[in-house]
C-alpha cells in the first residue's frame, strides 16, 4: 500500500508540474492582459507537434526538440498577441476571451489538417522502465522531471529576482499603479505572451513524453485543468499557479489511493478537481494564494 502511495505521489507531482508551468503562463496573461486565453491548450498541442517534427522528422535529440518547441510556441503566442489580440484591446474580457477560443480551434484544425488525426509519439522508448525502489518511472516521466527541475526554479527566479519578473508581477497586481511607477506596460504585455508561449511549449513537450502518444487533441484535454489551476492559485498570481498546479496534481492522484477509504474511482479524478474549484469559488473566490480585494 505504501508502494502504491509512493507511486501515486510521483504521478501526482508529474501531472502537477505540467499544470503548474502552464498555469503560470495562463495566469500572467490574465493578470496582465485581462484575457482568459482559451488557446493555451492548443499552444501545448502546437509545441508537441513542433517537437515531433524536430525529433522524429529531422532526427534532433529531445533537448533540441524541446528548445525548438519552446521558441516556436513563444513566437506563435507573440503573433497571437500582436496580430489579433492587441488590435482588439478594449473590446472587453468576454469578447477577447472568446476570440482566443476561435484562435485555439484554428490552431487545432491546422495541426489536424497538416499532421492528420493519427496518434504520434516522440522518439523515446516508452516501453523502458526505470526501477527506483518503490516507484517505477518511464523515460518520458524522467524527462518531464528533468525539465521541471530546470524550468520551475528558472520561472521562480525570473519572477522573484529579475526586473522583468518583478514588473510582470507588478502589472498583474495593479496595472495602473505599475504604469504610474514607470513600468512599461506595453513592453511587459509583449514579454508575458512570450513567457506564456514558452511555458506552454515546455508543457506540450512534457505532456507528449509523459502521455507517450498524442494527437491534435492533446492540449484540449488539459485545458480545463490548467484553468482550474489558475483559479485555484488565485487569478493573476504566478506563485499561486505554481503551487496550485502541484496541489491539484497530487490531490487528483492521491484521491485514488486505496488507503484513503478504498480510494476514489479513477474516472472521478477530474470531478474532484472541479468540485474543489466550485468550493473555492464559493468560499474563497480569490483563490488559495490570491489576495482578497476590498473596495
Amino acid at each position: 500500500m505504501l508502494q502504491q502511495l509512493a507511486q501515486l505521489t510521483l504521478n501526482g507531482l508529474i501531472t502537477g508540474a505540467i499544470l503548474a508551468l502552464t498555469g503560470v503562463g495562463a495566469t500572467l496573461v490574465f493578470g496582465i492582459q485581462r484575457i482568459a486565453n482559451f488557446a493555451q491548450g492548443e499552444l501545448l498541442t502546437f509545441a508537441a507537434y513542433v517537437g515531433l517534427v524536430l525529433n522524429a522528422v529531422y532526427g534532433q535529440n529531445l533537448a533540441v526538440a524541446t528548445l525548438g518547441a519552446v521558441l516556436a510556441t513563444a513566437l506563435l503566442a507573440l503573433a497571437m498577441h500582436l496580430l489579433v489580440l492587441r488590435p482588439l484591446r478594449g473590446r472587453g474580457l468576454v469578447a477577447t476571451s472568446l476570440i482566443t477560443v476561435g484562435l485555439g480551434l484554428m490552431i487545432r484544425d491546422v495541426v489536424f489538417i497538416v499532421a492528420g488525426p493519427q496518434i504520434r509519439q516522440l522518439r523515446i522508448d516508452q516501453s523502458a522502465v526505470l526501477d527506483l525502489g518503490p516507484v517505477r518511472l518511464s523515460p518520458g516521466q524522467a524527462v518531464a522531471i528533468a525539465i521541471t527541475a530546470v524550468a520551475a526554479p528558472a520561472v521562480a527566479f525570473l519572477l522573484a529576482r529579475t526586473t522583468l519578473g518583478k514588473s510582470m508581477r507588478a502589472v498583474a497586481d495593479n496595472r495602473d499603479l505599475a504604469a504610474i511607477a514607470g513600468v512599461d506596460v506595453e513592453r511587459i504585455g509583449t514579454w508575458v505572451w512570450l513567457l506564456a508561449g514558452g511555458l506552454a511549449g515546455i508543457g506540450g513537450i512534457m505532456v507528449a513524453v509523459v502521455q507517450g502518444t498524442f494527437d491534435p487533441n492533446l492540449g484540449f484535454q488539459v485545458l480545463f485543468l490548467i484553468f482550474t489551476t489558475v483559479v485555484l492559485g488565485g487569478i493573476g498570481s504566478a506563485y499561486g499557479a505554481l503551487a496550485a498546479g502541484f496541489v491539484l496534481g497530487l490531490v487528483m492522484e492521491l484521491s485514488t489511493w486505496s488507503g484513503f477509504a478504498g480510494g476514489l474511482e479513477p474516472r472521478f479524478k477530474p470531478v474532484l478537481a472541479f468540485l474543489a474549484l466550485i468550493l473555492l469559488l464559493l468560499y474563497r473566490p480569490q483563490g488559495l494564494f490570491g489576495k482578497a480585494r476590498v473596495l
Partner: protein, 419 residues
C-alpha cells in the same frame, strides 16, 4: 435461308425485343433520387476513425452511381449530398444531423459510429423527421428506439449484448470459466454498456472480476488506472476502448511489469490497431462480428486502398458504412422510392434468404435482378447481414483477431455464436 430458319430467327429476335422492352419498362417506371448524408466524427477524438468511415461511405455511393450510369438508369440517382462532423459528441452530432435533414434533405444518414451520438440524433432528428439511419454504434439500446411502424434505425453491426456474451465465452474457453479477469473500460456509452454485459455474463458463468476500472480516456495520463488494473493477481484482462486512447493506457500498463498482452482480450474496436494509426500488442486478442468474413471483404479493402484519399489508413469496421450504402440503395430500388419509410419496408427483403446472393462486386446483376422483380440477398463486405425487422443484424459468427509479433493482426479463428 429457308422459311423455317427465317421464322426461328424472327422468333428469337421477337423474344429479344420483348425482353428488352420488359427491362426498359421495368427500368423506366423506377424514378427516384436517393440522397445520402454521412455523419461521423471528422475532427477531435474520433477523427481517425471518422475520416475512414466517411471515405468508405463515399466509395460505396460512388460504386452505386457508377453502376447506374453503366446501366443507363437515368431516372435513378444515388448521391452523397454532404458529410457532417459530429466531433464524437451528441450535441454537435444533433446540430450536424439537423443540417443534413433540414437543409440537405437527405433520405439516409450513414453514421454516426458512436452510440451516444446516434442515440441523440435518432431521437432528436431522424425519428421525428422520418429519416433512415445506418449506425456504426453497437449499443443494444439503439434499435429499441424503433417503436414506430417503420424501423428507421438500422444497425449493420452486432450489438454489444451479443459481443459481451461472446467475449465471456471466448475468455472462458482460453483462461478457464473461473478465471479472474480485470476489466478496463472507457467512460462512455460504448465502454460502460459493453463492459456491463460482459460483467454479467462472466460472473454468471462462475468467473470473478477483481478490478473493474472505468476511466476517462481523455485524461492526460492513465498511470493510476494502470496500477489498479494489475492488482488482484488477475489471470487475464478485458479492455473496452478505441485504439487511439488505449495506447495511453497500454504504455503505463507495460511499465508495471505485470501486464501480459497474451492474456488480454479486447472489444471489436481493438482488433487491429496498427491499421488505425496506432500499434498492436503481440498476443492480444479481440472479437469482431463477421467483419472480415464477407466474401467481398478483400475486394472492399483493395478498393479502399486504391481509391480512398491518400494518407487514410484502412479500417475494417468501416465496411459497415460501405455495406449500408448498398443496403439502402437496393432496398430503395426494390421499393421504387427514396422515401425512408418505404425503403425501411424492404431492408429485410434485400438482406436475407431466400434469394440469389450478390456482393457489391455484382451490383450490376443485383440491380438487374431487383428490376426484374426477383428476390435478392445482398451479402456485405462484413458478411451476410441478415437484417431482422427490428433493425438488427443476426450475426452468427464472430472472428477472433490476434495481434502478431510483427505488428500486424489477423483472424485466427471464427466461432459460431447462437444468442
Amino acid at each position: 435461308m429457308d422459311l423455317r430458319r427465317l421464322l426461328l430467327l424472327g422468333a428469337v429476335a421477337g423474344v429479344a425485343v420483348a425482353l428488352g422492352q420488359g427491362v426498359a419498362a421495368a427500368a423506366s417506371d423506377v424514378t427516384f433520387d436517393l440522397r445520402y448524408g454521412v455523419l461521423a466524427g471528422l475532427t477531435g477524438d474520433p477523427a481517425a476513425d471518422g475520416q475512414a468511415w466517411n471515405e468508405a461511405a463515399r466509395l460505396g455511393i460512388d460504386q452505386i452511381a457508377a453502376a447506374l450510369k453503366k446501366r443507363g438508369l437515368s431516372g435513378v440517382k444515388a448521391e452523397l449530398i454532404d458529410s457532417q462532423d459530429s466531433q464524437g459528441t451528441p450535441q454537435a452530432g444533433v446540430e450536424a444531423a439537423q443540417k443534413l435533414v433540414q437543409i440537405d434533405r437527405v433520405n439516409v444518414i450513414i453514421g454516426d459510429f458512436y452510440s451516444s451520438v446516434t442515440s441523440a440524433v435518432a431521437t432528436a432528428v431522424a425519428i421525428p423527421n422520418q429519416v433512415l439511419v445506418f449506425t456504426g454504434g453497437t449499443s443494444p439500446a439503439l434499435t429499441k428506439l424503433n417503436t414506430g411502424p417503420a424501423a428507421l434505425i438500422w444497425q449493420p453491426v452486432a450489438a454489444d449484448d451479443m459481443q459481451g456474451q461472446v467475449l465471456a465465452r471466448i475468455i472462458g474457453e482460453e483462461l478457464g470459466k473461473n478465471a479472474k479477469i480485470n476489466v478496463a473500460a472507457r467512460n462512455d456509452a460504448y465502454g460502460t454498456s459493453l463492459s456491463a454485459v460482459f460483467k454479467d455474463a462472466w460472473t454468471a458463468s462462475g468467473g470473478t472480476i477483481p478490478k473493474f476500472v472505468v476511466y476517462n480516456q481523455q485524461q492526460p495520463t492513465l498511470d493510476t488506472e494502470a496500477q489498479q488494473l494489475v492488482e488482484g493477481a488477475p489471470d487475464g484482462w478485458l479492455f473496452v476502448d478505441f485504439c487511439q486512447t488505449f495506447a495511453k493506457l497500454a504504455q503505463p500498463l507495460s511499465r508495471t511489469g505485470k501486464w501480459d498482452p497474451a492474456r488480454s482480450f479486447g472489444s471489436d474496436t481493438l482488433n487491429d490497431c496498427a491499421t488505425r494509426g496506432s500499434t498492436n500488442y503481440p498476443g492480444m486478442r479481440a472479437t469482431q462480428a463477421n467483419a472480415s468474413s464477407g466474401a467481398s471483404f478483400p475486394a472492399f479493402k483493395a478498393l479502399f486502398e486504391k481509391s480512398a484519399k491518400p494518407g487514410l489508413a484502412f479500417q475494417p469496421f468501416t465496411a459497415e458504412a460501405f455495406d449500408s450504402t448498398f443496403v439502402a440503395f437496393l432496398a430503395a430500388l426494390e421499393a421504387k422510392s427514396a422515401q425512408p419509410a418505404k425503403i425501411s419496408q424492404h431492408v429485410v427483403s434485400v438482406t436475407t434468404d431466400p434469394g440469389t446472393a450478390y456482393t457489391f462486386e455484382q451490383l450490376d446483376q443485383a440491380i438487374q435482378a431487383v428490376l426484374d422483380g426477383k428476390k435478392i440477398h445482398f451479402v456485405g463486405a462484413t458478411g451476410p447481414l441478415n437484417f431482422s425487422a427490428n433493425g438488427r443484424v443476426n450475426a452468427l459468427a464472430y472472428d477472433i483477431w490476434q495481434h502478431k509479433p510483427d505488428g500486424s493482426a489477423a483472424v485466427v479463428k471464427t466461432v459460431a455464436f447462437q444468442p
